[in-house]
Amino acid sequence: MPLDYIWQAPKKMTPVGVGLKTEHFDHVLRTMPPLAFFEVHAENYMTAGGAHHRYLETIAESYALSVHGVGMSLGSAEGVDMRHVERFREVIDLYKPVLVSEHLAWSVSGGTYLNDLLPLPLTEESLRVVTDNVNRVQDFIGRRLLVENPSSYLAFKSSEMPELEFLTRLCEATGAGMLLDINNVYVSARNMGGEAKDYLDHVPEALVGEIHLAGHLRKDIDGVELRIDDHGSRVADEVWALYRDFIRRAGPKPTLIEWDTDVPPFETLADEAGKAADIMKAEYDAHV
């Protein structure tokens, strides 16, 4: 299987994109914004028909697409649901995305879908489960996945290794790449302790096929501040700083702005994407 998780935007294009929301379909088709790619959630396109398919088919004629799964449940002990994997493959076959990704998380138990990206104990047992599931999905869809680091609100006593080691070993065992969500690294470090900068400094940059950036929410629970990864605001300054440092070390990477709740006008997303492009250009220019 080729290393097809590495995508380079067409020449002269800075590889930035935004999550494509139904609210923005008309705007995108009317203005054709200068972005390298759009990302959609695979599950939203697993319906047989609907106007959203017609919009995406038109947008896909002019833009590269990234298909991002949120419901595969790569961490399920019971294995992945092959009916879901089959629908995932149908979306990929239909839209021919340049990037395909999922999460290091689980969301299905006993056939019930819990609509959340739930944390795994980072154990050898979990690593075997996720490795088997990623292999099964990759074999079935005929291409490699990017696996995204989750945002965490709890950790298990039974964990035997740090998240980055788990992800790196998973990628080594399956040939998958990493979708590095820098906001998630920051949110998890704030919630669970640990240094986001230290995590990012040790990410094997060659494995990273895409970066996610998003805003998060601060919530006070029993006097303890918890950061919630709600994708409902601009990217935090601290996350921009981490992104700049990572790009300086790793070079340009396809970078996506996610915004899924309280979706603002398209211009706000484009403005955030512009910031990522500016950082990538500035760091790149400094190196040549």
Partner: protein, 231 residues
């Protein structure tokens, strides 16, 4: 059952019920600053809130009659009663109307389940592919078109829907004025609502009989796209 499967089953039980998590699940979580039960609650709340919001967005007309708080509460109970079995949320909510039908607080607003049913069918057909019903031979059995869903209601469900969407004044609707049969039809890529008259309603109710006395009604229903011919 493996250690991981046990943990996931326990987490699922806590999320779906919204109740206090089992002791061994709480004991498996690192405390670090915030109590484990409170950390688990972040996921319990997320489950209830995200699914309730997804369903709420499907039933805006029902919400006009009973308000957001009532719908949120009722749908949260539905989410606990009938959790999704797949990750495609566009397919989730088909049984919400049946749940509301027997949900005691809805007894005060007995027409609500049929409005929810109508809205579900509109949504279901909006994400469906229109089936080509073709030109079947006249001798073939008549049947309901696969592009149609019916809401055969004891209430004036279409008038209520029109009031809920602001097309007619609420005071123009008398819920005791008798039932209406609504056909939700996917045609030419658009979903339309049609009212069936008494004869048409009677005919679709007795689709199994091929009574020739009903021919004009049947012909009209085929013309409307509500019926088609074929196996």
């Amino acid at each position: 059952m493996s250690e991981l499967a046990r943990l996931q089953a326990s987490m699922k039980a806590a999320m779906v019920s919204g109740a206090e998590p089992e002791a061994h699940l709480v004991a498996s979580v690192l405390p670090s600053g915030l109590a484990p039960a409170r950390r688990i609650q972040v996921h319990q709340n997320n489950y209830r809130q995200t699914l309730t919001s997804a369903l709420l967005a499907l039933f805006p007309v029902a919400q006009v009659f009973v308000g957001e708080q009532f719908m949120k509460g009722a749908l949260a109970r539905y989410v606990a009663d009938d959790p999704p079995s797949e990750a495609v949320l566009a397919h989730y909510g088909a049984a919400a109307a049946d749940f509301l039908q027997v949900f005691p607080p809805v007894a005060q607003v007995p027409y609500l389940p049929d409005i929810v049913r109508l809205e579900w069918y509109v949504h279901e057909l909006q994400v469906a592919v229109e089936v080509d019903t073709g030109d079947a031979a006249p001798h073939q059995r008549r049947r309901l078109s696969p592009n149609v869903r019916l809401v055969d209601s004891d209430f004036p469900v279409l008038n209520l829907w029109m009031a809920g969407t602001g097309q007619i004044a609420p005071e123009a609707v008398n819920v005791k004025s008798g039932g209406q049969c609504a056909a939700v039809l996917l045609s030419g890529g658009e979903v339309r609502l049609l009212a069936l008259d008494a004869a048409e309603r009677e005919f679709v109710r007795s689709l199994t009989s091929e009574n020739s006395a009903h021919e004009p009604v049947a012909a009209r229903l085929i013309e409307m796209g509500v019926l088609c011919r074929g196996a």
